[in-house]
Subunit: 536 residues, 2 copies
């Protein structure tokens, strides 16, 4: 995600001991050399193929497919002159460093070679001309380079890291006297995930096997020096995304130290008043961003809770619990006298993209959810007094919710002045456990039946929806969602799950142009967690 | 220049001892750090300013000027976001390596910075959008880079060498959360010319002083590891260009070893049958091009002749005289039974750009010119037999010319089947000395009076025209040409003399687009030679 929401008078507070611990936990990346698997032809994909609803597509746009064209061996027999291009398929999603050799054939090279190199995670990026990008976030994320090579032959190692499956070479110019050939193309693909640590999957269901595989690949591509949200964009550690990655990691790659490192980074680099930032950067030096999000700060609590549950690492729990507590203190300040989170005009809380989603109720529910986890952590640390405090706070906030945000007549939680009824609000109140299991099931069933109009938009929110179904025994509905939503991406050939997926509009983008969407996004990679925790 | 004229079955013959000698003579480049002098605004230049003849301009085109805008100190106070740009003026022509520092200001850098960097020798290049280039040679010579910078601050040292006075930074994107500033911009300018060796100029004429200065700067920028034709394009050693550079060098920078090195390179790397190539390359390894030009091969003779005259270096003369002789042998083969060079359809001889110029007569004259120089070299080497041979050959070719190419009635030399009368043919026959001084003066005067329609096109040809005037005592006419032609460039603010200059059409280009012209071209840098040899 990419948002503009800066804290006034932003100031970072550094806790050097925590940062030091995080640095000590910096993972070694393993790398593997991957060569392209074949040549592909990028072709326009007829709209009818995609099952989309044309009138929901905001402008006439074409989608593209990659059709196998020739074997990779054919490349060595091809020479390229001005205007020629070739698209290579690396056979799967790669995150890494590309190198290749360019040679001249013909007369001596009498002018530089001028190349355009374009990389994309999906065929759509290869079919679109990046010059036509019309999104509202930085075009600098589009993976494209222009390269003059003065002397051939040359071995080129592109210095930047890319996330891609497809790579196109386009010769913008050579000269009439020579052509070029491309050789030894490879990607040094990197990850901090160790596939050898993934437990075998105990299911024979081919669809679940496929979805699990795509999940794991998504995770693997995002596991770098931290858990990145997406290796194409934004390539950084977001707290809300981390929570889902960590959960999935416990059931797959089990890289506990990477989670621990990320927790120490957020605890060691805080915003004003000790607030955990929404995201942070590693370069040029570790620093927290100036973006604050109510729910993301609270995800520090959830993330620590999950971590202890997965590892039993008492030392880390003890050391980081104060940071978790600070998030709750700061959040409690946002309550009015009835114990209800004050709504705001600004974008102060994430929950989901989704146009017009009011965040008040969701924020309230996330707070209850986190208070209950904090109570449990206090119990683990055998601090009854603190546990009692959180019990009382959870009750207070729950009462506030039930008295002001629960519309008993309609049977839904409402949010904001306009009493908005959204999927997000219901899902989060189910997760917050303000009702018992039976009432939760009724609420979820009613939600589906009445199909509230303010829908879920991101795989991030879909995760919590499935979690709510699973935790309340609505396993069939949960599996159905996994099969239709994540399965929908897998069926259209996704190697990794997307940042944005709307089964009814393949061109959906919160940024005004699908081109800039990330097509390998960790918050979308949680089906492996569901399948492994609840279904096998 | 940039031509397509490949020898069939091209094969390079290497004489390792000559190449070794050339490598031993490889000059050390001196470098100096140059910082931009100020900020400029590139503005459209009204057509009326340029004194051109509008109907000779092939399409409606604008020219551009660089107006001083702000001092360089102003740059440190400027921040740049998406779409912003700044144009820097380095105060004069530079050949070298650019480095700069980019910093982010605002929130932490949440997206790569995407920069376009454009470099130009003259304001016209800065005003034109390179995307609109419509020339017929490689666009790869246009000096423009696109750069993604993932982490700021960053010190960027562009790896390529550029020839430029103006440098534009254009920010294609940052993000709404940060802007960039540019600092520590500098060029490490390189040359193998040593200004300390230039003798003082003995004239008080301000115009000649200016023209001499621009000449020397042109030479300095082109003097690199060899004498390059132009440091923007083609950045390589052409034999015809070398001859003029060497001549000028003897009167200015006096880097005799650099000439010697270039002679050994041409002698050490020959084409089929020992032909001296039209040009050669240093990288990836020293190699001769597969382009052959009748007159350029013969320029090896002239170049060796000049070198000995300037240095008295008998050893080099002795060692390279066989290579010179080989060029004459190969050229003599091109004669018909009357001793006249056979005309050809292909582009086999350079002489000049100039549309429709027939090369037969010029080639004939160059051959006579070279035979006479070879005779003199034989005498220097005290080889009377060889000297006699060249005397007889020169007489034979002269007779052929006078019987078949001299139109006594019209008083002009004719060329080709269509009996073309061109400036180039007359000039070269004057230089070849087939007539005495008086008849030469008459021919030159008649040429100017009748203003033959097949005109001269390049400064290269203008050089030989001025040389012909000077050598025959028409000094005033020669000076007038220098003042009007080279002075014309200097008056419009040229830092260095151009590859192409047509006082009547500033958009002239042999490549279909002025953008690709070289604006620092050594074959245009010879006025310093004329001024110093003949005028002071």
């Amino acid at each position: 995600m990419d948002i503009i929401n800066s804290i006034p008078d932003f100031k970072m507070t550094v806790y050097p001991e925590f940062v030091k611990k995080a640095e000590e936990l910096k993972p070694a990346l393993s790398s593997v050399l991957v060569r392209p698997a074949g040549l592909v032809r990028i072709t326009e994909r007829p709209q009818k193929q995609d099952g989309g609803v044309p009138d929901r597509i905001p402008f006439r746009e074409a989608d593209f497919a990659a059709e196998p064209a020739e074997s990779i061996d054919a490349l060595s027999r091809k020479t390229f002159g001005k205007g020629d291009s070739v698209c290579l398929d690396f056979g799967g999603h790669q995150v890494g460093y590309v190198s290749f050799r360019v040679e001249a054939v013909g007369s001596p090279q009498d002018a530089p070679a001028y190349l355009q190199i374009k990389l994309g995670e999906i065929p759509y990026e290869m079919g679109r001309d990046f010059a036509g990008y019309h999104g509202n976030i930085s075009r600098s994320w589009l993976q494209e380079e222009f390269l003059h090579i003065d002397v051939l032959p040359a071995v080129i190692r592109l210095p930047r890291r890319y996330a891609f499956r497809y790579l196109e070479f386009r010769v913008l110019d050579t000269s009439p006297k020579y052509r070029v050939i491309f050789r030894d193309i490879q990607c040094e693909s990197v990850t901090s995930a160790d596939s050898g640590r993934v437990p075998p999957l105990k299911t024979a269901d081919p669809e679940l096997i496929l979805i699990d595989r795509v999940s794991r690949k998504t995770m693997e591509s995002c596991m770098q020096l931290v858990f990145e949200d997406g290796p194409k964009r934004d390539r950084r550690l977001w707290l809300g995304d981390l929570r889902l990655q960590a959960l999935t990691n416990y059931y797959t790659f089990r890289n506990y130290d990477l989670v621990r490192r990320c927790l120490y980074l957020f605890a060691g680099l805080t915003q004003n008043e000790g607030r955990a930032g929404a995201c942070l950067f590693l370069d040029p030096k570790p620093q927290v961003d100036d973006t604050a999000l109510f729910d993301f700060s609270l995800m520090f609590v959830s993330c620590l809770y999950d971590y202890y549950e997965a590892t039993g690492d008492r030392e880390t729990l003890r050391e980081l619990f104060p940071t978790a507590r600070r998030q709750l203190e700061l959040s409690m300040r946002e309550l009015d006298e009835d114990g209800v989170v004050r709504d705001k005009e600004t974008w102060w809380c994430f929950l989901d993209w989704g146009e017009g989603l009011n965040k008040q109720a969701g924020a309230q529910a996330v707070l209850i959810y986190a208070l209950k986890q904090a109570r449990q952590m206090a119990l683990w640390l055998e601090d009854g007094k603190i546990a009692d405090l959180y019990s009382r706070q959870a009750d207070f906030v729950t009462e506030g919710a039930l008295s002001r945000l629960w519309d008993a007549k309609a049977g839904f939680f409402i949010s904001g002045e306009k009493r908005q009824r959204s999927w997000a609000s219901q899902v989060w109140f189910v997760l917050a456990g303000v009702f018992d299991r039976e009432k939760n099931r009724q609420l979820l069933t009613r939600l589906i039946q009445e199909d509230l109009p303010v829908k879920m938009a991101t795989p991030y929110m879909y995760h919590y929806y499935v979690e709510a179904l699973m935790e309340n025994g609505l396993t069939d509905l949960a599996v159905e969602t996994i099969r239709s939503y994540w399965g929908g991406m897998a069926r259209e050939g996704a190697d990794t799950f997307y940042e944005v997926y709307d089964p009814e509009n393949r061109f959906a983008s919160p940024y005004g142009d699908r081109l800039i969407n990330s097509f390998c996004h960790a918050w979308s990679g949680t089906p492996a967690y569901f399948i492994r925790k609840y279904l096998t």
